[in-house]
């Protein structure tokens, strides 16, 4: 376990170094932040003086080195637009994204498991076919379009749900702004969560259905049935539990996709999370915030993948033994 941990941390440090290097490379081509923070009629000399002051004229390696030295002390630089430390900005936006991702995951788990199992057990039922059909549609429409469609149907057309933003928020301990505790906040969560889950849901339904079908054909299921166990127990304990392994793997890998799609969903719904912040930072050429975001998300990925690997061990002891070697 300890060796595993050490190996992971070393990997993480390496990954972070590479990400920051990539971030610094693309930063040069995103555009000139000085254009965004000065008016158009400001003279070139004035702009150059400011650029010099911000250290943007220094050689590439010097800038990168300076960034790394500060990053080691937990300082990822200052956002040009927010005029505050970038890490502070990102952490301030994180709750919005995490709440959206959590609601979406909840929706995916609550829907994909029963539907997946149902579709595996009764593949010919019209309801199962309906779900499969809808899931094809869901996965083939870009999330951007799904989101706009949802807004036009449920906000503009029917007027049931709000069209943008997070609604009324409650500040919890540590400045975490949550939309989970007001009815207005919850209403605002519905459309973005549905839009975001439209990408994940079909995938998981299909995955669970396929795995389940395979498991149901195995001998031990037949044996369990022959033994006279209750059908529910056979399905859930003997069947479903054994489909979990690939589901968890895919879930871990899909986290990246989920984050990528939060960027789109957040932008459309003006959901003030990290994704929308990132897109706006690119738009504003707020290069220091872009780099900080990339490094932060990189760290998040490494952490989540480590956690997934640990959970893996819990579900399948064989892997735990391999890890211990």
């Amino acid at each position: 376990m300890f060796a595993f941990f050490i190996r992971r941390v070393t990997q993480a440090v390496f990954v972070m170094l590479v990400i920051s290097l990539i971030g610094f490379t693309i930063k040069q081509s995103v555009g000139d932040p000085l254009r965004e923070i000065t008016g158009i009629s400001v003279s070139a000399a004035e702009r150059d003086a400011l650029r010099e002051k911000l250290g943007l004229n220094d050689p590439f390696l010097l800038q990168w080195g300076r960034f790394l030295a500060r990053a080691l002390q937990g300082d990822l630089g200052n956002s040009f637009y927010f005029k505050r430390p970038a890490l502070q900005v990102i952490l301030g936006k994180a709750p919005a994204t995490l709440e959206l991702v959590f609601s979406t995951s909840l929706l995916v788990v609550l829907l994909s498991i029963p539907i997946g199992i149902y579709a595996a057990v009764r593949p010919r039922a019209w309801l199962a076919r309906f779900f499969m059909g809808v899931s094809i549609v869901g996965v083939s429409i870009p999330v951007f379009l799904t989101a706009i469609l949802l807004i036009y149907v449920f906000s503009v057309g029917l007027g049931w749900l709000p069209s943008f933003g997070r609604g009324e928020l409650v500040t919890l301990f540590g400045g975490w702004q949550s939309g989970y505790f007001t009815s207005d906040g919850l209403k605002h969560l519905i459309l973005p969560s549905i839009a975001l889950s439209s990408i994940m849901l079909p995938l998981f339904i299909r995955l669970i259905r396929a795995e389940m079908k395979e498991v149901l054909e195995t001998d031990y299921i037949k044996y369990a049935r022959a033994k006279g166990l209750k059908p529910g127990r056979v399905l859930l304990v003997h069947g479903f539990k054994n489909t979990l392994l690939p589901v968890i793997t895919v879930g871990g890998v899909q986290l990246g996709t989920l984050i990528a799609f939060t960027i789109l969903t957040e932008t459309v719904f003006q959901w003030q999370g990290m994704g929308a912040m990132f897109i706006e930072a690119v738009d504003r050429a707020d290069t220091s915030l872009i780099v900080a975001y990339l490094v932060f998300v990189g760290a998040l990925f490494v952490t989540v993948n480590t956690v997934v690997d640990l959970v893996y061990g819990l579900v399948n002891p064989m892997i735990r033994i391999a890890g211990r070697r």
């Binding site: 254009r35 009629s41 005029k83 036009y152 007027g159 709000p162 932008t267 003030q272 706006e280 050429a285």
Partner: protein, 516 residues
């Protein structure tokens, strides 16, 4: 007793409309102001903010006249000095009284701001004659002193003096880091900022001691930045916000057809042009070639087909209403004439050039550029077009990487000379003139007239000079004119006088808005 009753009644009547009709305006803009410090950036967003939280000395009316605000009246003492008589009894949000000292202090700060110092270059320090009289003095005779006073939003000099808790001076102008002024504001405006989460939500509240009693009935403004065009429109249509700006042009028809919402448009002053670079291409040194390109571009057609009539086809820089506007300069699309000019110049067979344009800066910028490419191909000028986001565009523009470059320009001074100073005067690094003249067009007469217009204080003579410049630019085809973009806003029908609070600068005067 009767008298007391009468006074009370009068007071009730005066206070009545403001109290009875207190309304909340939910406003959605594509991006929120970058700071609370009005001098940190010269941009449309910051000026919109300044008009909410501060008051200028004078402001433009919709008809482009000057309306007295913190300056009640003014008189010219000599060619250099304009004396302003300030309004009495005006209070800042902090409670400090507004006096001439604040004007002097603010002008001094403007001259330190990297963004504003260019505009205020002709100004010397202001002189407070007494508490309510201030002389604004220019270093040479200057025809635009009053125009510039629309940018003087007096700040609370007492409030911004001293140092903050980090030991930094409160009046520092800081663009990318913490400063007191970036996070605190005290102006004389109708609203103060009650809360602000940058990039997320702003709440403005009406200031109880506001000097102007003749205001609208909006006492709270909730500003939400919504960058996505489709979402901003959907929010309005769904009734989640009351007013949006800007409005995506492809949705104009939809808004007009929808009940309960109103579309407001107004001809704008931002001219969209292409500049053929004479330094990069010898062909463009020949005025006939430039004229041929102007004749080949059907800008009225672009306005009709691409802009859907939401723009005004242009042949000059100054829109109608500006002093330099010349009535008889009209768009000149004539393909035969264009071909004849190319032939006369010896380029019948044409040539290949490069072009760059932004793809998210101006309305339909990419489509317009594509249309111009195909129009130029009719006179055998083959154009290789490259478009890019605005964040990358301006560096390329400055480096003059292409033979033809797109630029749109709005005159910060609301005056014709501003176009010439930035776009057509001979580029000069030292003086800064011709900063965006990527065509490298250079005509000493244009320079001479433009500079002379700066110190001409007789409006008629000044107009004649600026009109002559427009005529020269037209005759020599210094640039390829396309159109002036239209300004657009949309709001719910609950806004009773939305049409009256907007203006060509795109600074809606929300303090005057009346809601149902």
């Amino acid at each position: 007793m009767k008298r007391l009753l009468l006074v009370l009644l009068a007071a009730a009547l005066l206070a009545g409309p403001a109290l009875a009709g207190a309304k909340t305006l939910r406003l959605a803009i594509d991006a929120d102001p970058v700071s609370l410090d009005p001098h940190v950036q010269l941009s449309g967003g910051m000026l919109q903010y300044s008009h909410m939280v501060f008051d200028p000395l004078v402001r433009w009316t919709q008809a482009m006249d000057f309306e007295p605000r913190l300056a009640e009246r003014w008189e010219r003492l000599d060619p250099l000095t304009l004396r302003f008589f300030l309004r009495k009894g005006v209070k800042f949000h902090s409670g400090n009284p507004f006096t001439a000292k604040d004007v002097v202090w603010t002008l001094e700060r403007l001259k330190r701001s990297p963004d504003f110092k260019g505009l205020f270059e002709p100004f010397g320090p202001a002189v407070a004659v007494d508490d309510y009289t201030v002389d604004i003095i220019t270093t040479k005779p200057y025809g635009l002193t009053l125009n510039m006073c629309t940018y003087i939003f007096p700040m609370d000099s007492v409030f911004y003096s001293g140092t903050d808790e980090k030991g930094l001076p409160k009046d520092a102008i800081v663009k990318t880091e913490h400063s007191f002024a970036n996070e605190h504001a005290s102006g004389t405006g109708r609203y103060f900022v009650e809360s602000r989460e940058q990039g997320q939500k702003w709440v403005f509240k009406a200031f109880a001691d506001y000097w102007d009693k003749n205001t609208g009935n909006v006492d709270t403004i909730v500003l939400t930045p919504i960058s996505e065009d489709a979402t901003r429109l959907a929010a309005l249509l769904a009734g989640d916000v009351d007013f949006i700006m800007p409005v995506p042009p492809q949705d104009f028809d939809r808004i007009e057809k929808t009940k309960g919402v109103q579309l407001i448009t107004m001809p704008g002053s931002r001219i969209i042009t292409f500049q053929p670079n004479q330094k990069r291409r010898a062909e463009f040194k020949d005025a006939r070639v430039r004229q041929a390109m102007v004749y080949a571009v059907n800008n009225a057609g672009i306005v009709q087909k691409i802009m859907k009539e939401r723009a005004t086809a242009a042949a000059q820089n100054s829109p109608r209403g500006y002093v330099g506007f010349v009535e008889d300069l009209q768009p000149r699309f004539d393909l035969e004439r264009a071909k004849a000019l190319m032939k006369a110049a010896g380029y019948e067979k044409g040539f290949t050039v490069s072009m760059i344009a932004p793809n998210n800066r101006y309305v339909n910028d990419e489509k317009i550029a594509e249309a111009v490419v195909s129009m130029l191909s009719k006179i055998n000028i083959k154009v290789e077009l490259k478009t890019m986001p605005k964040a990358q565009f301006w560096d390329e523009f400055d480096a003059q990487v292409a033979d033809i470059q797109m630029i749109g320009w709005h005159a910060d001074t609301e005056d014709s000379a501003n176009y010439f100073e930035f776009l057509y005067m001979c580029p000069n690094k030292e003086t800064g003139y011709g900063q965006y003249n990527s065509g490298n067009y250079c005509n000493p007469r244009v320079d001479e007239l433009t500079l002379a217009s700066q110190s001409e204080t007789d409006p008629a003579k000044r107009a004649a000079m600026l009109q002559e410049v427009e005529r020269i630019l037209y005759d020599e085809a210094a640039f390829i004119p396309l159109h002036w973009q239209m300004l657009s806003w949309a709001g719910s029908d609950k806004l009773k006088n939305a049409r009256e609070i907007v203006n060509i600068m795109d600074f809606p005067y929300f303090g005057n808005l009346v809601m149902e």
